[in-house]
Amino acid sequence: MTAHLPALQVLVPLGCAPLCLLLRRFRTVTWLVFLLAALSSLACAVLLATRVDDGPLHYEMGGWPAPYGIEFVVAGFNTPVLLVVSVVAVVAAVYARRSVGDEVDDRRAPLVYTCLCLTLTGLLGLTVTGDVFNAFVFLEISSLSTYALIAMGRRRRALLASFRYLVIGTVGATFVLIGIGFAYAVTGTLNMADLADRLTDLDGNRALYAAVVFVFVGLAVKMAVFPLHAWLPAAYGEAPSAVSTFLAAASTKVAIYVFCRFAFTVFGAGLVFTTMPVGEVGLLLAALAMLVGSAAACFQRDLKYLLAWSSVAQIGYIVAGISLATAAGVSAGYLHVINHAVIKGALFGAAGLLVLRLGSARLDDLAGLGRRMPWTFAAIVVTGLGLVGVPPTAGFASKWALVSALLDAGAWPVLVAVLASSLLALVYVGRIVEAAWFRDPPADLPADQPRAPVSMVAAVWALVLLSVYFGIDASLPGGLADAAAAALLGTGGA
C-alpha cells in the first residue's frame, strides 16, 4: 500500500467530497468526513516526508509511463507544502465544527464541508502533480470550490468578493492555460520533467518567453502578488472564519509552490532568472507589496481585513526570497511559507473567535475586551509579534533568514522595504493591542456572553504553540526549507 501513498494523498480527500454530499442529512457526520480527509492527508504527508530522503517518488497514474500518462511526483520541494496544507487542514477541521455551525445555516453546513474537501483535494493535487495541464485542472478545482466557500460568508459583501475573485481568478487560470499552450506548442509535451528536458534546446525562442510570462502572470493572481492582490482582502475578510483560516494559511502558499516548481524545475532558473528578468521584477513587486500591504493594513477597521492586507505584505517577503534564486533566498522563502501559514492560520482563527463572540471583528468593537477574552488576545499578541518579526518568534526566524539572504545578494532597496514593512507591522499589531487593552469597554456590553468553544480555542492555540516552537527551535522547518531549496536548485530536481 505504501507504493500508493502519493495517490492516496489526493484520492482520500477526493473521495470524501462526494461522501459529504451523500451524507448531507447528518451534519456532524459530514464534519467527521472532512476531519477524516484532513487526518488521512496529514498521515500521508508525514509518511511521504520520511520517504523522500532517498530521492523523489514517482507515481504513474493508470500505469502509463511518464510523458504518456500523468505522474505524481513527491520530492523534497513539495513535502513541506504537503505538510503545511495537511496540518492547517486538520486544525481548520477541528476549528470548523463550532465555527461553521455558528456562521453558516444548518442546511448549508454540509456543503461547506464538501467544498472544504474539494479545496483540500485541489491544493494537494496541485502540489503533487508532475504534469502541467493536470496542474491547471487541480488549480480550477481548488479555485471553484474556494469561490463557493467565500460566497457563504455571513455578510452580503461576501457575494461580490466571491464574484470578483471568480472573474480575476478565471482570467488568471486562463493565462496559465495560454502559457501551457505556448510551452506545449514548442515542446509537444505536458510532463514537467519532459518539458524541462526539451526546453534546453530552445534558446531564444520567443514563444517560450511568452509561456513563462503568461504562466507567471496567471499564477501571480493566485499568489496575490502586488498588483494582482486586489481580490484577496475582501475574499479573506468576508469568508466564513474557518474558511479564512484554511485559505489564508494554505491557498496562496500552494500557488507560491507552483511558481517555484515552474520556475526552477520546468522552465529552469537559467531561463527564468538569467535570460529573463523575472527575479528583478519579482523583487520590485515584492518590495511594493510589503509597503502597500502593511500600509493598507494600518488603515483597516476590520480585523479580518487587516490580517488579509498583512498577508499581501507577507507574501511579498516570500516572493522576495524566491526571486533571489539563491539557495539561501529560496530556503528563506520556504521557511516563511511554513511560518506564515502557521501564524496567519492562528490569527484568522482568533479573529473567528471574536466573530463568534461579538458578531463581527471590527476593531472598534474590540474595545476593552483584552481582559474578557484573555486566551484569544494572548494568541493574537503572540502571533502578532511573529508578524512583526520580534525574536524569538517564528516570524523572526524566517525574517532573519530572508534578511541575510538579501544581504548576501546585495539587494539593499528590498532590505529597506522589509524593515519599513516590519515597522508598519508593529503599527497595525499595536492598533489591535491598543483597542483590546487600552480602550474602555462600551458600557452596554452584556455581562454574560457565551464562552468561546474549547475546540476552537484549542485549534488556535495549537497553531500558536507551533509558531512559538518554530521560533525557539527552527530545525524542523529550517531543515525542510533547506531540503526544498536543495531539491529545487540542485540537479536532483524532478
Partner: protein, 329 residues
C-alpha cells in the same frame, strides 16, 4: 489559397465580428443569443480543425447548456447593461493591447499552422496515442483512449470540477437556501403551447436514445460520457420547460438527482480503487481483465458512464436551481 484556408478565414472573421458585436451590445438577451451563435460557429471551426469531439462538446455546452443558463440568469436579473463609462475603457484596452502584443510577438516562434513537422507532431506522444494505442487499448477514437485512459486523472479532475460547480450552485441557489417551496405557475413552463408539447413528447425518447448512443459509441466515433450527459440534461431541461418544472421533478425526483451527482464520481473513483486493489496503479484498467485490452475497454466504458451520470445530474440540478429560483421569487 485553398478551400480550407478560405473557409477557415471566413469562419474566423465571423467569430471576430460576432465577438465585437457582443462586446458592444447593451441588450443582454441579444448578447446571449449572439454568444450562442458564436459557440455554434466555433463548433464549425472545431470540425474544420479535425476536432470533432470538441466540436460536439462545444455545440452541446456552448450552444445548449451555457445559453440556457445565461438566459436563466438573465431572467432572474436585469437584461440591460449600463453604459460603460469612458474611464473604465482605458484599463481594459491597455491590458488587452499589452497581452495581445505579447502574444503576437511570441507567435513569431510558433511552428507554422498545420505543419506536420512541429514539435507537437514529432514528439513520441503522437505515435503512442495514434498507433501504439491501437494495440494497448484497441479503440479507434484516440481522443477517447487518451481522455479516459492515458489522461484518466485529468478527466477525473474534470468531473470533480463539474461536481464542484453543482455543489456551488446548490449552495448559492439550491432549495437549501429556501426550504419552503411556495411556487406559482408561470409562463416558464409554456403549458399553452400545444404543438410544442406534442413535438417534444415525440422527440423525447429519441433524445434520450441519442444520448445513450453517444455514450456507447464514443469508442468508435465522436462522443463520450460528457457529451452524453449534456444531451441527457438537455432532454430533461426541454421536458421541464415544456411540461412544467413540477412534472419534470416528478419524473426525476430531486432525491434521485442528488444521489446521482456523488454516485457518478464515486463510480469513477471506485474503478480506480479496484485497479489499486487488483495490484495495478490508480486507473490502470489493464487489471480489470486477464486480457489488458479487454480490461481497458471495460474500464473506459465504466468511466464514461460515470461521467455521463454525474454530468447529466449536475447540469439538470443546476438548471432546476435557476428555474426554481424564479418561481420562488
Amino acid at each position: 489559397m485553398t478551400v480550407f484556408t478560405l473557409i477557415n478565414i471566413s469562419l474566423l472573421a465571423i467569430l471576430v465580428a460576432t465577438a465585437l458585436t457582443v462586446s458592444r451590445l447593451r441588450a443582454l438577451y441579444e448578447a446571449a443569443m449572439l454568444s450562442a451563435l458564436f459557440s455554434l460557429v466555433t463548433a464549425c471551426l472545431f470540425v474544420l480543425l479535425d476536432a470533432v469531439d470538441v466540436a460536439f462538446t462545444e455545440a452541446a455546452v456552448g450552444v445548449g447548456i451555457s445559453t440556457v443558463l445565461l438566459l436563466g440568469g438573465l431572467a432572474l436579473t436585469r437584461s440591460r447593461e449600463a453604459v460603460t463609462p469612458r474611464r473604465r475603457r482605458l484599463p481594459g484596452a491597455a491590458v488587452a493591447i499589452l497581452a495581445g502584443g505579447t502574444l503576437v510577438y511570441a507567435s513569431q516562434d510558433l511552428p507554422a499552422f498545420g505543419s506536420a513537422d512541429s514539435p507537437v507532431q514529432r514528439h513520441p506522444l503522437t505515435d503512442t496515442y495514434l498507433h501504439q494505442s491501437q494495440e494497448d487499448i484497441g479503440i479507434p477514437n484516440t481522443v477517447t483512449s487518451v481522455l479516459a485512459s492515458y489522461r484518466g486523472l485529468d478527466t477525473l479532475g474534470e468531473l470533480l470540477v463539474v461536481f464542484t460547480a453543482g455543489v456551488a450552485v446548490l449552495a448559492l441557489l439550491g432549495p437549501l437556501a429556501h426550504p419552503v417551496d411556495a411556487r406559482r405557475r408561470d409562463d416558464l413552463d409554456l403549458v399553452d403551447y400545444r404543438v410544442l408539447r406534442v413535438i417534444s413528447a415525440m422527440l423525447m425518447p429519441f433524445i434520450l436514445l441519442f444520448a445513450l448512443y453517444v455514450l456507447f459509441h464514443g469508442d468508435f466515433g465522436p462522443g463520450g460520457g460528457f457529451q452524453a450527459g449534456v444531451i441527457f440534461a438537455a432532454g430533461f431541461v426541454l421536458y421541464g420547460l415544456v411540461f412544467g418544472l413540477d412534472k419534470a421533478q416528478q419524473v426525476v425526483p430531486r432525491v434521485v438527482l442528488w444521489a446521482l451527482i456523488p454516485f457518478g464520481l464515486l463510480l469513477y473513483l471506485g474503478v480506480g480503487v479496484v485497479n489499486m486493489l487488483l495490484g495495478g496503479s490508480f486507473l490502470d484498467y489493464d487489471t480489470l481483465s486477464s486480457d489488458p485490452a479487454a480490461g481497458q475497454h471495460l474500464g473506459i466504458l465504466l468511466v464514461e458512464s460515470a461521467i455521463g451520470i454525474t454530468v447529466a445530474a449536475v447540469m439538470t440540478t443546476v438548471f432546476f436551481s435557476f428555474a426554481n429560483r424564479r418561481a420562488t421569487r
